[in-house]
């Protein structure tokens, strides 16, 4: 399987939601053998199957893929939204320690965010996903890596810094969701009910436009509960782009100040 075939399995051309699938991880696939060892299927008996509910899976690393696969088994279309690039070539030995680069802990990965495990997981589940024959309009399950913003361990110069954030513009609009029968969005995190601060911008926009937001942490039991997402800091703010130092997008089309740009400015 090559990267085009792998991406086509996870983002088939006929799916309504494939346009939003992120290709970053897939672009780094070189036909490696899947190293991922999947956990047993995760319980999804509490997930609404009304076809009017989209799901955001915000779980750490490969667990997001595993839960996405569990949702695919009950009719959801997993849509990978991973923005982190795997390190293209990891050294078997850590970089040379020096004043700017303290030695890494023996357990610290070179990648700050473990995107390689995500790559292995999408490859490992590809054959199974291919066999599902999901309809083109199957409700979406957007898959995020909950560790995207911080990764693991200190970000020292000798590490590959692949941290990322998600944006409201990484998702379809509330109008688009509605046009495909989606009236509710269910947020699934490991233990929190409220979305992470970057994701909150997208979720709050949906909420403002009439989408019901549900939440059900994976570690809890019971049915999803409706939540109210408070305005995140600098929601729709003009100044977010001025004040943020790391991890937010400069592109006016993908950020939060998109009311103000003029003429034909794009990416630099």
């Amino acid at each position: 399987m090559n990267k085009h075939e792998l991406f086509s399995i996870w983002a088939p051309p006929e799916s309504v939601w494939s346009r939003w699938a992120k290709g970053v991880v897939f672009a780094h696939y070189r036909g490696e053998s899947p190293l991922h060892h999947a956990e047993p299927a995760i319980d999804t008996s509490w997930v609404p199957l009304d076809r009017a509910t989209a799901i955001i899976v915000d779980l750490p690393g490969a667990l997001s893929i595993e839960f996405g696969m569990s949702l695919a088994r009950i009719g959801f279309r997993p849509v990978p939204l991973f923005n982190a690039a795997p390190a293209s070539k990891l050294l078997s030995v850590p970089p040379i320690p020096n004043a700017n680069n303290p030695p890494l802990e023996p357990t610290t990965r070179v990648e700050v965010v473990d995107a390689t495990s995500i790559l292995h997981a999408v490859a490992a589940f590809a054959d199974e996903l291919k066999g599902f024959e999901l309809p083109a309009d199957a409700p979406p399950a957007f898959l995020l890596d909950a560790t995207r913003r911080y990764g693991e361990g200190a970000v020292t110069p000798g590490r590959f810094d692949n941290r990322s954030v998600c944006f409201a513009a990484d998702f379809p609009s509330a109008a688009f969701l509605a046009s495909h029968g989606i009236a509710r969005v269910l947020l699934v995190e490991e233990s929190d009910e409220q979305p992470q601060s970057d994701l909150a911008h997208a979720v709050r926009r949906w909420q403002d436009e009439g989408v019901t937001i549900l939440s059900r942490p994976l570690k809890e039991t019971g049915q999803p509960k409706a939540i109210v997402v408070p305005k995140p800091a600098q929601f729709r703010s003009l100044w977010q782009r001025f004040t943020v130092a790391l991890g937010l997008k400069r592109n006016p089309l993908g950020g939060f100040g998109r009311e103000i740009p003029l003429y034909g400015y794009g990416a630099g």
Binding site: K3, H4, F7, S8, P13, R19, K22, G23, V24, F26, A27, N83, A87, S88, L90, L91, P94, P95, I96, N98, N100, N101, P157, G158, R159, F160, D161, R163, S164, A168, A169, F171, P172, S173, F176, L238, W239, R241, A245, L246, G247, K249, R250, N251, P252, L253, G254, G255, G257, R258, E259, I260, P261, L262, Y263, G264, Y265, G266, A267, G268
Partner: protein, 418 residues
């Protein structure tokens, strides 16, 4: 003014710019996937909008020749201005250059650096009065994969047309030549995927040329004597070239010895950080204080003033910051809420030297398969020679969520309308 498709045999000259028809959805989907997976175009969907157009824009040969002449003349003027400004540190503050960068420039001795290799991009808009430039990206212009790979893939579908150039090929040839046998560090800011995709794309292209290149962030550079070394997971050692896709005005945010980039060491840094001088949108504010005449610039740039000199609250003006790299800080009163406008007002009041006021101009729209669109033609110059086009359009004169990258082609001479 509206440009329409030529209809009928009486039309003797093609319009300066028109849109061709859309290609089939299947072919376009294939191109889009190649862009994502093979050519590092990782932001091809923004909200509900696919940011690659399924049709090209066709530029007339005459229009291209005009843009070439203007871009190349403007490049020469900017480089002359840059050399002059290096010896005019008293103007640095008026350019709105951040204090830490000003100090780094002054400490570096303000000596001219090599002009090669050097890339810039001029963003032109069609207006009733002809082509107008809204800005130059003279520090870290992007758009390479769209202007090269996407444009080439789209050109394959239009045998009567061809790209005007391949900026990525020319740029990477020059970078490879300058790096020689050395290793290249490709600097970008972590967390900015749209920048990382650009350095990843350049890395691919350099790899094709046999050049070892590694993506990095400024903290991973180590200045040792007159040479830069890289300390990155994949490579630790001396560098032959540093490619900076990290805006000069952002450098003070970086930890580590970013000031060394302003030095005059043996490792070339491209674009040189001195580009911060001409990247400033406030350059136009000090035109009259320069010895360089800047004749082309004065002609193609809308009237630009220090906000303290004009009534910028009038709707005929727009505001933007001195280092408005992507349009993210362009402000038009009628596009903002009252609260946002008050915020802008306060900042302009307190920090006028961080802003410019620029006269609005009426951009011309054209018909296209996507409806009426407002194109922006970004012309690259590499070492002073025009090298290709990065095309974009929006559904209105403002670039908002509807902005899209578009291939810009010219008709092959034998195919052009007589």
């Amino acid at each position: 003014m509206t440009i329409t498709h030529p209809i009928g045999a009486e039309i003797l000259a093609p319009p300066a710019l028109r849109a061709a028809g859309a290609i089939s959805p299947q072919v376009f989907d294939s191109i889009r996937r190649r862009m994502v997976l093979d050519y590092c175009k990782w932001d091809s969907q923004i909200g509900d909008v696919t940011t690659l157009a399924d049709f090209p824009l066709i530029l007339s040969a005459d229009a291209w020749n005009e843009l070439v002449a203007r871009s190349e003349a403007a490049t020469g003027e900017l480089l002359d201005a840059e050399d002059e400004l290096l010896n005019r540190p008293e103007l640095f503050a008026d350019l709105g250059i951040p204090r830490a960068v000003r100090r780094a420039l002054e400490k570096s001795g303000c000596k001219a650096v090599s002009r090669s290799p050097r890339i810039m991009r001029f963003d032109f808009h069609l207006t009733a009065e002809g082509w107008r430039a809204s800005e130059v990206n003279s520090d870290v212009p992007g758009g390479y994969t769209e202007s090269s790979m996407f444009t080439n893939l789209m050109a394959d579908q239009f045998p009567n047309c061809s790209p005007v150039g391949d900026p990525a090929r020319v740029w990477c040839d020059l970078l490879a030549n300058r790096a020689g046998d050395g290793v290249v560090a490709l600097l970008s800011a972590p967390g900015y995927l749209e920048d990382f995709q650009i350095v990843s794309f350049l890395r691919q292209r350099l790899d094709e040329r046999g050049v070892r290149a590694f993506t990095a962030r400024p903290e991973q550079l180590i200045a040792t004597g007159r040479q830069f070394h890289l300390n990155q997971p994949e490579y630790q050692g001396p560098l032959g070239l540093v490619l900076r896709f990290y805006q000069a005005e952002w450098l003070p945010r970086a930890r580590g010895d970013w000031r060394a980039l302003f030095g005059r060491g043996d490792t070339p840094v491209v674009n040189p950080p001195t580009a911060v001088l001409t990247e400033s949108k406030r350059l136009a504010v000090i035109f009259d204080r320069l010895k360089s005449p800047m004749a082309t610039w004065r002609n193609i740039l809308p009237t630009t003033r220090d906000p303290r000199e004009v009534n910028w609250r009038d709707d005929e003006w727009i505001l933007k910051t001195a280092y408005c790299n992507t349009g993210d800080t362009v402000a038009m009163r009628d596009r903002l809420t009252a609260r946002q406008w008050r915020t802008i007002e306060r900042d302009v009041w307190w920090h006028p030297r961080s802003w410019i006021a620029q006269k609005r101009f009426e951009a011309t729209s054209i018909d296209s398969p996507a409806g009426r669109i407002f194109p922006c033609i970004g012309v690259y110059t590499i070492d002073g020679i025009s090298a290709g086009i990065y095309g974009r359009f929006a559904a209105n004169p403002l670039v908002d969520h509807s902005a899209v990258d578009v291939a810009v082609l010219v008709e092959k001479p034998e195919m052009a309308v007589a």
